[in-house]
């Protein structure tokens, strides 16, 4: 068992666990030691012995208060992006401020854009879609004449083996799918008749991250990466 490991010098096998515990082993030996540790209960007992012994040295790590930025970053990493939007009142509340700011920006852009372009999108409603802990930011413009929502991505990246899916929500009703969207292209989404019937100021648009092809269920299964309410322009 020891012939694949360089046991030069004294101790060899016997203190391999100590070298592993200290993190001293070169990569190849470290991996082979790890493989043996998985198989060999006696060697695991050795490793425990050493980790326990060395832990008495922990007092040598001087306590140092971390920067104040660390804790909010940890919370963001762990909780913000994976929390389902459907069960989080706090998230909805926090969205309002961000969404409002982006909506104002979007309206501003809309107003200063020259109207000479024949393809100009005559929007009557705008929604800014974003969520805490997610970098996805999308502006949605609704054109009542065509019954289409035009989505423009401000920020957001494709995720391998995932699709983004757009949803509309009326009040406390169930989300209705508006289909899979491309995050890296402009999307003109035709609203289905049943969504169109209720669509208006206050309708929430949300984007979730789903398996390829979209949610296997009639409701979102993945994290909501952006959401916002439609407002009249």
């Amino acid at each position: 068992m020891s012939d694949e490991i360089d046991i030069s010098g004294p101790g060899g096998d016997e203190i391999l666990a100590a070298e592993y515990a200290l993190g001293l082993l070169p990569e190849v030996e470290r991996e082979s030691a790890a493989a043996r540790l998985r198989q060999d209960p006696a060697m695991r007992a050795d490793l425990r012995f050493w980790l326990h012994g060395f832990s008495s040295l922990d007092i040598g790590f001087a306590e140092t208060p971390p920067p104040a930025t660390a804790w909010p970053a940890i919370e963001r990493r762990l909780f913000a992006s994976r929390r389902g939007v459907w069960d989080s009142l706090a998230l909805w509340r926090s969205l309002a401020g961000v969404a409002g700011a982006i909506a104002v920006l979007a309206i501003g852009l809309n107003l200063v854009t020259p109207r000479a372009d024949p393809n100009a999108f005559a929007a009557q409603l705008v929604a800014a879609l974003s969520a805490q802990g997610s970098n996805v930011q999308v502006v949605a413009l609704y054109n009542a004449d065509s019954g289409e929502v035009r989505l423009t991505t401000l920020a957001g990246d494709r995720v391998p083996d995932k699709d983004y899916q757009l949803w509309a929500i009326e009040g406390t009703g169930a989300p209705q799918s508006l289909g899979v969207i491309k995050i890296d292209a402009r999307n003109d989404v035709k609203l289905p008749a049943d969504v169109l019937a209720q669509f208006g100021p206050g309708t929430t648009l949300a984007i979730s991250l789903e398996p390829l092809g979209g949610s296997p269920k009639p409701v979102p299964t993945g994290p909501v990466v952006a959401a916002g309410k439609a407002m009249a322009i």
Partner: protein
């Protein structure tokens, strides 16, 4: 921190139950220690902060692996932080998968009586290190506290790499005898 061992064990247990208030309290109680670990090993404040964030993400995700009566809870947390910092150091060189066996073996650790005897044992490892030549004891401390590799230890002590490895292995054998006595 020795006095609130039970509290910290309780906070870890509540983290395993997805109690976010407990997680925040655990952070408040232990982050200065763990930042001390990542800072000492990585020697760069912003890298140490990044590592600290990753450490607490791991702690939240793996809190269910902590078994009371094994490591003392703060030792377990320090081990998570130390292993992660060593992984960051190794990532500066080409390397393979992240192996975190030090966490996995905590299952059937020393019994609670042993864990409770921590202070006595601290005296013991100091005594045992004290029986080594000073530079060899320093090398062991440097490997544990600073994450030095054999190469770095050889450089610092101005001896060839093989000599350092031989030194350290002899020292570890003597430590083992002393700690087991």
């Amino acid at each position: 921190m020795a006095g609130d061992t039970a509290d910290i064990a309780d906070l870890i247990a509540r983290c395993a139950l997805r109690d976010r208030a407990a997680f925040k309290a655990l952070y408040g109680r232990t982050s200065a220690k763990l930042f001390g670990v990542t800072l000492r090993i990585l020697r760069d404040r912003s890298e140490a902060e990044e590592a600290l964030q990753e450490v607490y993400v791991k702690i939240w995700q793996r809190a269910d692996r902590y078994v009371p009566g094994g490591f003392s809870p703060i030792s377990w947390l320090v081990a998570v932080a130390r292993n992660h910092a060593l992984d960051v150091l190794r990532a500066r060189r080409p390397q393979g998968e992240d192996i975190d066996l030090a966490l996995e073996v905590a299952d059937a650790g020393p019994n609670p009586e042993q864990a409770a005897a921590n202070r006595a044992e601290r005296g013991r490892i100091d005594d045992c290190l004290g029986q080594l030549d000073a530079d060899k004891a320093d090398a062991v401390r440097g490997a544990y506290l600073d994450g030095y590799s054999y190469e770095e230890l050889a450089d610092r002590h101005k001896v060839p790499l093989n000599t350092m490895r031989t030194w350290l292995r002899r020292s570890l054998l003597r430590l083992r005898e002393c700690l087991s006595a």
